[in-house]
Symmetry: D2
Subunit: 296 residues, 4 copies
């Protein structure tokens, strides 16, 4: 069955369950697991060749998954640990130096709660480029030159989100783009526990079913790091998954849904708190990474 | 199968489909259909005895359903017609007189888009009670004495919503309470087309699966008119409904979901526009009904 | 005294009061007054040469002022008349044809109530360009091809607002840019009564004291029509104006304020309602102008 | 001159400047100063008799002022220190025990940025009473039983804010009420640096000029602790203060303003960031005080 998920770790889980072997190695896929502060699991999946890419239905590159239980509406201390873990992983992909320029993009629709992670996160990132302009500085030892951009969704702007981002990049001239977005998962539990960081770019609107032009190193000419949190479940996946044991014709059911399913948003009932907590965690992780002299 | 819906008209549809006869009469249920301005269908269901109540799984009373296609993101003129239709039906339940006092309640969570209909609507209703206090007036020929209250949800206040409303009613001393809330429907198409007005009260939190103390004439000692718009689909209903033709053991599937299903919100992808347009339509309908000298 | 105002009509009032003659004609300034529906005053000021420009401290061009009393928290009917008046004046500056392309810009900061007029207005304008893209249409008899853009403020983006708008214009390729912004007035009464439409462009941030790169036909290469509502009073102007009769050294007081005054926002206490009502009026006026087949 | 301020510390400054002696002692006023972490000044003013009350124009009781420079848009670490200082002072007024019940009130209008401190702060306070209800618990060693309530403003509800709070208190039955509100200061610099905690209650709406029924131990029958941040300057105070050196008839100017001044909101241009940072600081301070087992 074709379950839709934006998470590489779920594609690996699906692969494992198909192969009835949880530990099987895939040629072209390297996996590394680690614990951070006991409470956070880090899984680094590296897809190194076309075979791996085909098996996991994902482009070549790095996919880092952070998993943490109990962070939503949980203790402040655990949120801080999660921010530190995000920063630690981001620092492996973005190296601070005193001339670093970064553009942070908040994808999604701030008017629809499960799609508002990107805009909320960017509104909490410390933007600094205007200070560099004001003082005509070309570098700083304590903070990167950071721009922030919330492009909106095509239904509100009438313009391709990727084109707007390209324009912003032409102004900000960043060395790297950080794109924060809501993702789709297969498993509803992931909504309150998981963060995925990847260096393979992003498709704006993927989380809510509106596929758009991709943001990748190829299309943008700039390294694009995506940071996402699953906030929705694909409705077809939910339906098929929930009743998998009760279907008399699974393939027929799937193709029926393909043709008759409606685009819907499926999310968890505490999505407001999920957005609040994860936008705090990710924005702090970004601030620690980009402004080492101010945040710690 | 036990489909969950807050709409009396859907319970009637389910009854009809079970009985393979779309026109069957139910003892204790009176139905009246009408067209308004060609574009709006009005269905008035009156449940007059216990038999009717049992067959439609709804308390005795009146359930008026307004159905209009194309109003979301549609022409201003159609929204105005829908407001007029809401006002026309409301006026049959709330009669304006120069000492009329009304409390308008916005149920739901303004931080979660599909649950924010109530708060948004109340923020657009013209509240006037403070003018009456200021001028020590006990009546007016042009406008009712209207209070507005947005009680929040229990997860944010720690208090029972029904208790907070009772307190507000003790202050405002209304003749009637209008409670605006998001509802759950069986059919996703209803999310952008349907308004239900009923005089049988409301259960705060029903739309998002959090059943709470009821707001009814019995519990409040005051007539309660509920105005609702379906903004979510019950996830178990969605799942069962979507694959009803493919299940080998429907009853087993249903009881499996009862035990293993998770509380999720299922809504349409244009929910932001739905909330915007329907809160406009309903608040205008309320303003026309309560303030005949100002709105028309 | 140098009172700061974005309103041409106030510059004319200041000129008149200095010259102790309310009706004096200025060479290079043409003034036309009209009533719309009895309740709306329209004043069209045309600055035709450098002398007029110098006397009124404004660039050459047209400045249309609409004045209406009692529209804030007032009857729906009066808001509709105000929208019609806005549309009527806009139509003199933007002529609908079936290939018309427009970019509507919402300037200001949606997080600061008196600066949020632009973003709120644009969120209510009907954006259509994505439909034209989807159907590969190059024109329509009922609606213009409209894009919407909310660039944010420099403190949040780190980027020059004018540069971001230029980029959006490069994507949307409009025939005309409509820029909606909050303005500064001298007289606090103007906050709830006045709309200014001009064809001379705009300086983003002027309303809140942050002068920025200008948006004009010269800088953008595209006709720029500005629609503004005064929502703030310049604090130095307020101070000098309030006590003008009690100063022993007016010039000294003025230069003292120039050096010691702080940047502050001065606004009216009902600013939330002002933003709500005027964003409704202006967005409706824009929709009527740009989409004659849908709005009327 | 009658400068209006909600800050006891500013009344003391005014007293000192009138008496041309910064250190003068007032009978009935005890003052204690302290530094916290070098960066935060704490001034505790205790008014012990009617003479002190008259001289400082404030009711008998405790007024604690925290002053910190550079916290707005500043380093995370400094915000955390400020939260600790708030918690330390709050703990002197509210003693945690395992049956502690608290009602936290957010006064003000969430639609007007400078008046939105209360609602924003309460939305970040951890509300727990519903857990106590759910598990039928009458106490807990780690957290207090906390309710949260955002009553709105009279213009939106039509009801007296103090009456609504009394009703909420009748439901939540707290030992103490914490009321968070925006305050008025004389000096604009205080907007980004000062927090006042007092045990003498609060007048909802005072910050924006709408005096209302008081919330005090006398009117509520429950201890009321007010936590406020100056976010506005009284416009008459601003005007008189700015031009004090240039007035030929100060008393005449003052009485002129009394009669001709308009109600306006004067605030700082970075008020959005002020609200964001101070609502974080205060909500964290409250959470640390009330939930010692969860926050630290």
């Amino acid at each position: 069955m074709a379950f839709r998920t934006d998470l590489a770790i779920e594609n690996k889980e699906i692969y494992d369950s198909k192969n009835k072997d949880k530990g099987i190695e895939i040629s072209g896929v390297e996996i590394e697991k680690e614990k951070f502060c006991d409470e956070i699991s880090i899984t680094r999946i590296k897809i190194t060749n076309e075979h791996g890419s085909r098996e996991l239905s994902k482009p070549l590159g790095n996919y880092i998954t952070l998993e943490v239980e109990g962070v939503v509406d949980g203790p402040e201390e655990l949120k801080e640990k999660a921010s530190s873990a995000v920063a630690l992983e981001l620092k492996r992909l973005v190296h601070f130096h005193n001339k670093l320029k970064v553009l942070v993009i908040g994808l999604g629709n701030d008017k629809v709660t499960p799609d508002s992670l990107g805009p909320y996160t960017v509104s909490k990132v410390k933007v600094t480029r205007h200070f560099f302009l004001m003082y005509d500085a070309d570098g700083d030892d304590e903070m990167a030159c950071v721009s922030g951009f919330i492009p909106g969704v095509m239904g509100s702007t009438g313009m391709e989100t990727a084109e707007l981002i390209q324009s912003a990049a032409a102004i900000a001239k960043p060395e790297v783009i950080l794109a924060v977005d809501a993702l789709a998962a297969r498993n509803v539990d992931r909504i309150s526990t998981t963060i995925q960081i990847s260096d393979t770019g992003i498709s704006p609107g993927a989380g809510t079913g509106n596929k758009r032009k991709e943001l990748t190193k190829e299309t943008m000419g700039i390294k694009v790091i995506a940071i996402g949190v699953p906030t929705v479940i694909d409705s077809r996946t939910l339906i098929l998954d929930s009743l998998s044991g009760f279907l008399k014709d699974p393939a027929g059911a799937e193709s029926y849904l393909e043709q008759n399913g409606q685009d819907m948003i499926v999310t968890s009932t505490d999505i407001d708190q999920v957005i609040k907590d994860f936008s705090d965690i990710i924005s702090n992780g970004i601030n620690i990474t980009l402004h080492p002299g101010i945040y710690s």
